[in-house]
C-alpha cells in the first residue's frame, strides 16, 4: 500500500461534513491562499524530514477510524489538499465503505477529479471550495487558476457527488455575487438541492496577506444569504 503524509486526525469532528465524522488532514497544498487558516499544512513533503507528519498507509489510517465506530457516520478527508493523493484516497475509501461509513472529500477543486473514476466510485460526496469566480481575483487570492475548479463543479454536479459548495466570504476580496451566479450557470437547477455554505472569514491562524483583514459583518453575511436565495439556492448555511 502507498503511504500519504498525515498531519492530523480528529476522532470526532462536528464541523467537517454531515453528522459526526473522523476528519483526516493530509499534508501539502498546491495553492497558497491569502486567508489560509492552517498554513502549516501547505508545505509539500516527499520525505520523512518533518516530525509533525506521519506517513501512513490506508490500512493504518483505517485502524484509527475504526476506533470511532459506532459514534461516527463517516470520514472526511481534508488538508492541505487531499486530492494530491488520489490513489491513497481510493484505497482508504474502499476500506471505509466496507465498514458501512460514508467518505467525503474537502477540496480546493484544483485537481481534475474526472480523471479518477475509481476514486469517485468509492467517494460519497465532495465539499468543494469555490474561492473566486473571476480568474484574476482567484489568482490574487490563491496563487493558482480556477479553470479546473469550474470543470470540477460541473463534473461533480453531473455525477451527483457535489455534497456542498463552500465560499469563504470577505468583502471586496471575494466576488461572492459572481461566484453564486457562476455556479448557477454551471450546474443549473441543481443549485436547489446542493448545500451552500457561506463561511464568514475569520483571521484566526492566518499568516498570509489577509492576516489583518476584518471579518465581514453579520449584516453583510445575511445580505449574501438573501442574494443566494434570490438566485435560486435553497439550502444555505452561514457559518
Amino acid at each position: 500500500m502507498i503511504k500519504a503524509p498525515v498531519r492530523r486526525i480528529i476522532p470526532h469532528s462536528l464541523v467537517d461534513g454531515p453528522g459526526n465524522r473522523t476528519a483526516i488532514f493530509l499534508q501539502g497544498c498546491n495553492l497558497r491562499c491569502a486567508y489560509c487558516h492552517n498554513p502549516e499544512t501547505q508545505k509539500i513533503y516527499t520525505d520523512n524530514s518533518s516530525l509533525e507528519i506521519e506517513w501512513m498507509t490506508a490500512k493504518e489510517v483505517f485502524e484509527e477510524v475504526e476506533k470511532n465506530i459506532p459514534f461516527i457516520r463517516g470520514i472526511t478527508l481534508s488538508g492541505g489538499e487531499c486530492t494530491l493523493y488520489p490513489e491513497f484516497l481510493t484505497e482508504l475509501f474502499t476500506l471505509v465503505q466496507k465498514a458501512g461509513l460514508s467518505c467525503v472529500i474537502d477540496t480546493n477543486g484544483s485537481i481534475d477529479l474526472s480523471k479518477y473514476p475509481e476514486l469517485m466510485e468509492v467517494c460519497t460526496g465532495v465539499m468543494l471550495d469555490v474561492k473566486a469566480w473571476d480568474e484574476k481575483k482567484f489568482k490574487r487570492l490563491t496563487g493558482g487558476s480556477n479553470e479546473v475548479v469550474k470543470k470540477n463543479l460541473k463534473y461533480l454536479a453531473d455525477v451527483n457527488k457535489l455534497e456542498e459548495i463552500r465560499i469563504v466570504c470577505i468583502e471586496d476580496e471575494v466576488d461572492t455575487e459572481d461566484i453564486l451566479k457562476g455556479i448557477k450557470t454551471a450546474i443549473g437547477y441543481k443549485i436547489k438541492t446542493t448545500k451552500l455554505r457561506l463561511i464568514k472569514f475569520r483571521n484566526h491562524g492566518v499568516i498570509g496577506r489577509l492576516k489583518d483583514a476584518n471579518s465581514p459583518s453579520d449584516e453583510y453575511m445575511n445580505g449574501l444569504k438573501e442574494m443566494a436565495l434570490k438566485i435560486g439556492f435553497e439550502k444555505i448555511i452561514i457559518s
Binding site: 480528529i10 470526532h12 462536528l14 464541523v15 465524522r21 470511532n68 457559518s239
Partner: protein, 498 residues
C-alpha cells in the same frame, strides 16, 4: 441545640429552607432504628452513608405518582375533577405537585409532561400554548425550590414535546430537570436533534436510553430526581451508599478489601436499608394515611430500595496505588473496578430486600452522584475530572462497560464547545453510537452557559455567585451545588471540542 438556634437565626436561608431544616433536626432527635454495632462502626468510618435521610423515615425518598390515572380520574381528597381542557389540566397538576412528598419534601417527579399535555392541545395556537406553558413552568421553578425535581419527555415526537423544548430554551430555568427518553425506533431524528440543540442552551433535557431502561420493571418507568430509573405508581423507599474510596482506605490490601471490608459493608448497608424500610412500612403510617395510596396513585408494592455506590474511580486508584494504575486509563484498573462491581452485583442479587416485590425482593444498584460534603470522590462510576480520555470514543466505551450493572440510574455528563449547536446531527450520531454500546443515560451542556449540571441536577452559575457572597438564594440546590462545584473542580470537566 446551638445548631438549631443557628438555623433559626441564619441570614443565608429562606423561611422555607429554615422550616425544612428544623423539621429535619426534630426528626433526628429520635432514635427508632435498630443499628448493629458493626454497622455503626462503618457509618463512623464514613464507609457507608445514609445521605442524611433522617433518623425516623416517615415518607419514601422518591415518589412517582401515576399522573395518567390522576388526569383520568381526578382526586377526591383534593376535590379535583378530571381536567377537561388545558387550563384545568395545568391547574390540577400544580395543585397535586404541592402534595407529593419526598426526602426533600418537594416532588421529584412531575410526569411524562409531553404525553400528559399533548391530548389537551387541540384548538390552541402554538403561541397560546406557549404562554400557558411558560406560566406553568415558571410556577414550578419558583415554588419547587429544589432541582432534584424531574419531568420526562418522549420517546414519541409530539407537538407538546416540541413546544416544551422551545419554551425551556427561552426560560433558562433550573427546575425541573428534564430528560428525553430516546429510542431510535420510536423517536424522530428531528425531535431528538431539537432536544440536543435545546440542551446546548439550557443544559436540559438529558437523554435517556429508552430501549435499555424500559424493561427495568414490570410497570412503566420514570426518571426522577437526578436520573433515577424508578417504577411509575411507586418509587424508592430509601437510598444509602457505599462510599467506596473510604472503604478502600480501611483495607490493608486488595485481598483484605474483597475478603473483609467489602462483604462487611455490603452486609451492613443491606441490613440498614431493610431497617429503614421496615420502619417506614410497618410503623410510620405513611402507606395507611396518604391519599396518594388510597386513591391508587401510588402502591406500596411498587417501591424499591436503591443501593448506591460512589467513587468507584478513587476506590480503584487507592487499591492500585502501588502499581500506579488509574481507573479510566489503564485496563488493569478497569478490570479491578469491574470485579468490584460484579461483587456488589452478586450480593445485591442474593440479599433479600424487604417489601420490594417490584424488584423481585432485591435492592437495585444506583450510581450515586455525590454529596456537597464529598471531597475527591467522583460520582458513581464516572471517570474523575481531569483524567477523561482524550478520545470521546474511549470515554463512551468505558461508560458503556460500567453502566451495565447499574439498574436504577447512572449517567455521564459532557460539556460541549458552542460550535456543537451548528451540527446537532453529529451529536445525535454520538448518542446513537453510545446507546448501541450500552450507555444508559447522557447529558450535555454548552461550556459557557449559565445553567450547569452539577452531578445530576442543574444550578445557575449566577446563583452560585450570589450564594458565595452570602446572599439568600431561592433554590436550596444552589447551596449543594456551590460546594460540589468547588470541591470537585467541576469547572475543569473536559470540554469536548470539535
Amino acid at each position: 441545640m446551638t445548631d438549631i438556634l443557628e438555623l433559626v437565626k441564619s441570614q443565608k436561608l429562606t423561611y422555607e429552607q429554615k422550616v425544612l431544616s428544623l423539621a429535619h433536626a426534630a426528626e433526628d432527635t429520635l432514635d427508632v432504628l435498630h443499628i448493629p454495632e458493626k454497622t455503626q462502626y462503618y457509618f463512623e468510618q464514613k464507609a457507608i452513608d445514609n445521605l442524611f435521610e433522617g433518623n425516623a423515615p416517615y415518607r419514601p425518598r422518591y415518589i412517582l405518582p401515576d399522573y395518567d390515572k390522576f388526569i383520568k380520574e381526578g382526586s377526591n381528597f383534593l376535590q379535583i375533577d378530571p381536567p377537561k381542557d388545558l387550563d384545568e389540566l395545568l391547574y390540577a397538576l400544580m395543585i397535586l405537585y404541592r402534595h407529593v412528598p419526598s426526602i426533600t419534601s418537594f416532588p421529584v417527579y412531575l410526569g411524562n409532561l409531553d404525553k400528559m399535555i399533548d391530548p389537551f392541545l387541540e384548538g390552541y395556537s402554538d403561541e397560546e400554548v406557549k404562554k400557558k406553558l411558560k406560566l406553568f413552568l415558571n410556577y414550578i421553578d419558583r415554588t419547587i425550590t429544589d432541582s432534584f425535581c424531574h419531568a420526562n419527555l418522549g420517546p414519541e415526537d409530539t407537538r407538546a414535546g416540541r413546544l416544551i423544548l422551545g419554551v425551556e430554551k427561552e426560560l433558562q430555568n433550573a427546575v425541573p430537570n428534564l430528560t428525553f427518553k430516546y429510542d431510535p425506533d420510536i423517536t424522530s431524528d428531528e425531535i431528538a436533534e431539537l432536544a440536543l440543540y435545546t440542551s446546548l442552551f439550557c443544559a436540559n433535557p438529558a437523554i435517556c436510553n429508552h430501549k435499555l431502561n424500559m424493561d427495568t420493571y414490570s410497570t412503566d418507568y420514570g426518571i426522577a430526581s437526578c436520573y433515577n430509573i424508578l417504577p411509575i405508581g411507586g418509587g424508592a423507599y430509601t437510598l444509602s451508599r457505599l462510599v467506596l474510596p473510604n472503604m478502600a482506605k480501611l483495607a490493608k490490601n486488595i485481598d483484605h478489601f474483597f475478603d473483609t471490608i467489602l462483604p462487611e459493608c455490603l452486609q451492613a448497608m443491606g441490613g440498614y436499608m431493610n431497617e429503614r424500610i421496615r420502619f417506614l412500612v410497618e410503623e410510620s403510617g405513611f402507606f395507611e394515611s396518604s391519599f396518594l395510596v388510597k386513591e391508587g396513585l401510588i402502591h406500596k408494592d411498587r417501591f424499591i430500595g436503591m443501593f448506591g455506590i460512589v467513587g468507584l474511580a478513587e476506590c480503584t486508584n487507592i487499591l492500585m496505588e502501588d502499581e500506579g494504575k488509574r481507573y479510566g486509563q489503564d485496563e488493569e484498573a478497569n478490570d479491578l473496578a469491574d470485579k468490584i462491581m460484579h461483587t456488589i452485583n452478586d450480593y445485591v442479587n442474593t440479599f433479600p430486600a424487604k417489601y420490594s416485590p417490584i424488584s423481585h425482593g432485591r435492592f437495585m444498584i444506583h450510581a450515586q452522584v455525590g454529596m456537597d460534603y464529598d471531597k475527591g470522590i467522583t460520582a458513581g462510576v464516572r471517570i474523575p475530572i481531569g483524567e477523561e480520555p482524550e478520545n470521546l470514543s474511549d470515554h463512551l466505551r468505558h461508560s458503556a462497560r460500567f453502566h451495565k450493572l447499574i439498574t436504577t440510574g447512572c449517567s455521564d455528563i459532557f460539556p460541549m464547545e458552542i460550535t456543537a449547536r451548528n451540527n446537532t446531527s453529529a451529536m445525535l450520531d454520538i448518542v446513537k453510537g453510545a446507546f448501541t454500546l450500552g450507555v444508559k443515560y447522557l447529558s450535555f451542556y454548552e461550556e459557557n452557559g449559565d445553567l450547569v449540571r452539577i452531578t445530576g441536577y442543574l444550578v445557575k452559575r449566577s446563583e452560585m455567585e450570589k450564594y458565595k457572597k452570602g446572599e439568600v438564594v431561592l433554590q436550596n440546590t444552589t447551596h449543594l451545588g456551590t460546594s460540589n462545584y468547588e470541591n470537585n473542580n467541576l469547572k475543569d470537566r473536559k470540554v469536548r471540542r470539535v
